[in-house]
């Protein structure tokens, strides 16, 4: 963190070494250039093909939010990016990538393409975990058909779009917050695969939790 000082006294500034000047400006320029490049690249449209055969168009930068698509594009070793646009659609070979799911995913990445990349090792990770979803994301993920919602999450996980998987996971966890086991089973249509004896054993072990059920 060059150039940042946490100081309660002003005089300490002199003691803490000379503040960097040129580097910061260079960094800023480089950042802006990268930003412009990303913006330019997003104007190039590439095609993605769902498992069911539907083809959807999507900006290049946005599509690269999917680590899997980014890797596939890297593997092409295409230097002229405009040629990618005229290529055949990129096939996404997983059952989860249905037409509906891919349509929604493209909608999401097109809205989020200029998000800063997620760095799991970063210190703020824990804070991001607890952050509320944005209003747009909430509306986006509030899908009536649960099958479709789960397809989107599975497809996003397959395509390795961390941000979208997180949105889905938070949405599900928000829905089941404070619910009892029975309610959750009903809501998420989970089959209770415990034998009655097993369930009784767990209840006995965790008696203190289920006191209010």
């Amino acid at each position: 963190m060059n150039g940042e000082y946490s100081l309660d006294t002003t005089e300490g500034m002199a003691a803490s070494g000379d503040p960097p000047t040129n580097n910061a400006v260079d960094d800023y320029d480089a950042e802006e250039a990268l930003e412009r490049q990303r913006e330019e690249e997003n104007k190039i449209k590439i095609k993605l093909k769902s498992f069911e055969g539907g083809v959807y168009e999507c900006g290049l930068t946005a599509a690269k939010m999917s680590v899997m698509v980014a890797n596939m594009l890297d593997a092409l070793q295409e230097t002229d990016l405009t040629k990618i646009a005229t290529r055949e659609p990129i096939p996404l070979q997983n059952d989860a990538v249905t037409n509906k799911a891919l349509e929604k995913i493209v909608e999401w990445v097109d809205h989020h393409w200029d998000d800063p990349p997620i760095d799991p090792d970063f210190d703020d990770e824990k804070e991001r975990r607890n952050e509320e979803l944005s209003h747009w994301d909430k509306q986006f993920i509030d899908i009536a058909d649960q099958g479709e919602l789960f397809d989107i999450i599975a497809a996003a996980n397959f395509m390795d779009i961390k941000g979208l998987v997180e949105v889905g996971a938070k949405h599900i966890c928000n829905k089941i917050k404070g619910k009892s086991c029975t309610e959750v089973r009903e809501m998420l249509k989970i089959h209770n695969d415990f034998t009655p004896e097993e369930e009784a054993a767990i209840h006995k072990e965790n008696e203190w939790i289920y006191a209010k059920d």
């Binding site: 997983n94 059952d95 619910k179 695969d193 006191a211």
Partner: protein
Amino acid sequence: MGACAGKHQHLKREAHDKYLPVPIKNHNNNTNDLIVKFRESQNLDNKNIPRIYRLSYLSRDFDPRSFDFSDELCVHILSYLSLEDRLRLESVCQQWQRLIYRSVRTLDYPLPSRLYSHLDGNYMSDKHWLYVSRQVLRKCHFLTKVRLLDTCDTDVLAVLAKNCHWLESIEWRFHNLLPVRREVLSKLCDNCGNSLTCIKVKELDEQAFNSESGLSVLIVYSEYLLNIRTVSVAIDSDKCLKYFQLFADIYNQRITSLEIRLKFSTFYTQLEDTFASIAQFLNLQSLTITLESEYPLDMELSAGASLLAHCCPNLTALTLELRDHIRCTSGSVLESLQPFRSLTSLSVRIRSPDIELGS
């Protein structure tokens, strides 16, 4: 108890091979085979095989609207649950039971008392709450960071030593009167020695300095704790300086981040000795010192600072906190910090009524 022993069987196996497929019971037979096969296919390292993320695609017996994710994705989704939800939802299904505690990475022991009200409106005695906390601790096998907020007894450490082999950070409080059994400690250090990078030894309360035993643990088990990078200790110099010198001798190559709390009540010379010990940490990058003393320390501080600046060329982050009783002028404090040329972050906090800030 028989049922419980059987229930945790898979967790025991997991310690040896966490990728072992776990078949689901109770579905009709055809689907069961499919799922076992599915779980095996999920665990191949071959990246070319498209992975299947939902069981619905495998069999018509599954409702596409059901929550039927593969273990990997299920763990990720459940990782956004709060601890109180995890406690309650353990018995939703076998998959959840197996996975729900897997993403618990950090835990405070005993559990924060605000959980009381979420779980049970009734009053719970402290003893019962400790029991509950221990039950939860037993279930979390993938902890990387644990804070023991109370004096930890042998049982708790035994649980950690047995289950949690991925621990990276421990914060604990020692009480000299409650010795911990040696074999448990050595087992803990043995099992977690490779992953453990951070140990924080805190005092039981603000006034008490009981880290003799904390330092002695670090010293005795130094051959296990090879990857320790961050240490936090409190030193009441009257008692602990010798321990600290020994500690500095052993760990001087390993530690990059040191947090120390010092309290001096008798001799000035001890600050000098302490600084001399700190200066032994050649690779130190970040240092936090909290000082408490009833005597003026101007000279010692500046001498110590120049020694540190000379001996620890990598030091880039310094936090200095001077507590209540200390008497010295802020000008001289800042002056004493002059020798540090390569700092990128500096924070000075002075809590004392005698000092005028900004002079």
